[in-house]
């Protein structure tokens, strides 16, 4: 089998899994849908590994293989195939996506046990994985956009999975609308590129870019900025980030899969894939880097004060993706991808741990009501702490190497990029602080009643309650019932968290400055045409950066320890002292309010105007009313002719004949 046939197999498995789950919705008993879905993704993962091995056999310069299944569209000047591109970057993304997805599927079998929509859930999940793999394997803009939109639809379905809960459907709609804004940006960007290069497949576009565009050509910069709109909407970067925290309404494994490990990294992938364009348009890349740095800082500040456990992790996701965007925007592709991978491991792990705790709390997500789970859930405590250490960039953990590599590359660019690097280190300190804020508040301190009950080895779940309103949930379509499992008790969930914890520790060792260079070396064929491929920071600079990062990380963790363990209550005093700042951060920098004022309300006003004036007066009154009036008058006339009187009909007939004869007389004369 060639390398591309494995690529098709990678796509076929989740598609088949989705079809089986969706069509067998009423037939699949028990957990079979979960196993079918998991095996499909496992097949995809195995095929990805085989694809990797096959790719390694090829000579370095031939490691970009395109294969076309059939012609999608062919008209004058336009030639689009349904084709996939297999190169180190897409293989890398396939491995990350299918690998993490497999573990999350296994975790979900336990987590979603007892949910009414079990089969539906796995159909959605497989659909999502298929869409994501399609996105990363696409070899032209058309297929990329298809995958891009599929992913958005899948995320909408999964966020609104518990669709009887109003806040879930609202969050789903919000995510979908913002994603569509991104889709539009991506489509228009692709149009601009097609306009200039007359091609839609990546290879041709990239080949022609240096010929048709000068550096920082206006059209190219515009196209790149539009691509960035798409990337930022998917990756929840400022200013298109507001959907991600709300998306925490979905089931926790979904948050782990979509909103941490895979979908939100699509924007990073896009920028990396489009690197020949961005290198030709450094202005756009600078915009991207600045936005990445802004996002990582803003999200970290918000994560300091948010009290919803999953939202803290969501904001930390935004922040970490900010690092990745910063990395690929300063043309440190290897570093960006490296962080993408390590982040996927530890963030999925954190979400799984959080899901476990939230399940034990009966869907309660507020940090204020948690505490003391250390003894009740030792396994979760251990794995969650590993994830938090990796997130905080604790020395020798995976996040330590990947985050600092991005910052080292940023400093290496010199000039104003140094500011971005400093911002990155400042946010790193906050990251360490809020990571351990979660650990200390959830697992340390006085055990809450739920934790005590769990220590006794037993926990009866209450019926699910909407944490926002306190109303009981409508369990007809979903929500795990009272026999709902938590990670501590389920082998499958432990089996998913264990490997992730291990990876969160060791994944950093593939890329130790001056020692190993596995990932960057592997990705090199994709980025061989980059002008910056040989610009490395010196090993000594990287080690200096690592030392600084380690100090900052330990300082942040120590700060959290001091505030939450040593002197509990400090935070309350700080919040009172700096009430203004606290409110500002707790309100998430007022982004939602800003959008409400500037976008939502004007649109709503326009809609109301349209409904009251245009719709009711013009459409209903003139167009519809007029048509109805004409038809009614015509039919009442026609009815008046239909008297049922035979002789009247005969008379009409005769009048008609007379008229005809008269007409011919006049015409003939």
């Amino acid at each position: 089998m060639t390398v591309t046939s494995y690529g098709w197999v990678v796509l076929a498995f989740p598609l088949a899994g989705m079809l089986v789950c969706a069509l067998g919705y009423r037939k699949l008993p028990g957990h079979s849908a979960g196993w079918i879905g998991s095996l499909a993704i496992l097949g995809s993962f195995v095929a990805s590994i085989l694809m990797l091995l096959e790719l390694e056999h090829l000579p370095t310069e031939e490691r970009e293989v395109v294969d076309s299944a059939f012609t999608y569209l062919q008209t004058a000047g336009m030639d689009v195939d349904l084709s996939i591109l297999v190169d180190p970057l897409s293989v890398f993304m396939c491995l990350v996506v299918s690998g993490i997805s497999f573990l999350i599927h296994v975790y979900s079998i336990g987590y979603m046990d007892g949910d009414e929509g079990f089969v539906r859930y796995f159909a959605y999940l497989n659909y999502f994985v298929f869409s994501m793999l399609l996105l990363v394997l696409a070899a032209n803009f058309v297929l990329l956009i298809v995958g891009w939109a599929f992913v958005g639809a899948a995320s909408y379905l999964l966020i609104s999975y518990w669709y009887r809960r109003e806040s879930a459907t609202a969050a789903g709609i919000k995510a979908f609308v913002i994603n569509v804004v991104g889709d539009v940006g991506l489509v228009i960007g692709a149009f601009l590129l097609f306009d200039a290069t007359a091609a839609l497949d990546f290879a041709t576009v990239f080949e022609r870019t240096p010929e048709v565009f000068a550096t920082n050509d206006g059209q190219l910069v515009a196209a790149c900025l539009l691509l960035l709109v798409g990337a930022f909407a998917k990756s929840a970067q400022i200013p298109l980030h507001t959907w991600l925290p709300d998306a925490m309404e979905g089931p926790t494994p979904v948050s782990a899969l979509i909103h941490a490990a895979t979908m939100v990294t699509a924007g990073v992938y896009l920028i990396a894939r489009m690197h020949p364009l961005f290198e030709q348009a450094p202005a756009a890349a600078d915009v991207s880097a600045i936005i990445g740095a802004t996002t990582l800082f803003v999200a970290a500040t918000i994560a300091l004060v948010v009290t919803d456990l999953k939202r803290v992790i969501a904001y930390s996701t935004m922040s970490q993706i900010g690092y990745m965007v910063l990395g690929v925007s300063v043309f440190a592709y290897g570093a960006g991808m490296f962080h993408l991978m390590t982040h996927a491991f530890f963030k999925a792990l954190l979400f799984m741990g959080a899901g476990s705790v939230i399940a034990a709390m009966g869907n309660e997500q507020s940090l204020d009501r948690m505490g003391g789970f250390r003894k009740a859930m030792p396994f979760t405590y251990a794995t969650f702490t590993i994830g938090a250490l990796a997130l905080a960039g604790f020395p020798l953990m995976s996040g330590f190497f990947s985050k600092d590599e991005i910052l080292a590359y940023t400093f290496n660019r010199g000039g104003l990029y140094v500011i971005l690097g400093v911002v990155g280190y400042a946010a790193a300190a906050m990251t360490a602080f809020y990571a351990f804020r979660m650990v200390f508040r959830v697992f340390h301190g006085e055990p809450v009643p739920e934790a005590r009950e769990l220590e006794g080895g037993h926990l009866v779940h209450a019926d699910p309650v909407n944490p926002a309103t306190g109303e009981p949930e409508d369990t007809d379509v979903g929500f795990p019932g009272s026999e709902h499992h938590i990670a501590e008790r389920e082998a499958g969930m432990k089996a998913a968290m264990g490997p992730l914890a291990l990876l969160a520790i060791v994944a950093g060792f593939v890329q130790i400055p001056g020692v190993t260079d596995v990932l960057e070396h592997f990705l090199e064929p994709t980025f061989a045409d980059s002008h910056y491929v040989h610009e490395h920071p010196s090993d000594s600079a990287e080690w200096l950066g690592l030392a600084v990062g380690a100090l900052i990380s330990i300082a942040g963790i120590a700060g959290a320890w001091f505030v939450y363990i040593r002197q509990p209550g400090t935070t309350g005093r700080l919040a009172e002292r700096f009430a203004g700042v606290h409110d500002f951060l707790a309100s998430k920098w007022y982004f939602d309010e800003l959008y409400d004022r500037t976008v939502v309300q004007p649109f709503a006003a326009t809609g109301r105007f349209g409904r009251t004036v245009i719709e009711s007066a013009f459409v209903q009154g003139v167009i519809v009313g007029g048509t109805v009036g004409i038809v009614r008058a015509g039919s009442s006339f026609a009815r008046s002719i239909q008297t049922g009187e035979l002789r009247a009909y005969a008379a009409l007939l005769l009048i008609g004949v007379s008229g005809l004869v008269l007409y011919f007389l006049i015409v003939a004369s």
Binding site: R639, G644, E645
Partner: protein, 99 residues
Amino acid sequence: MDVSWFLVLSAFIFCIGAAGVMSRRNPLVVLLCLELMLNGGNLALVAFARMHGDGGGQIFALIVMVIAACEVAVGLGIIVAIFRRRLPVDVDELSDLRG
């Protein structure tokens, strides 16, 4: 004989029949008046056949006679059915198909 005389005669017969259809209320008589109209047409057809020396017009007239026979059979059947059901035998009363 000038053919147009026959044609004028056929026009008169046709119009007398038409006037009868419009003014009489007994369905039997209405059917008779329809026969008149058909016969007017027949006369014109035969006259044209003579004018052109073509037998086709006569065949046409023959077919019209067949149609007339069919119409009589069905029409009289309907009248008998109406009579059997004790309905008024009057086209003005039979106006149930009013729109």
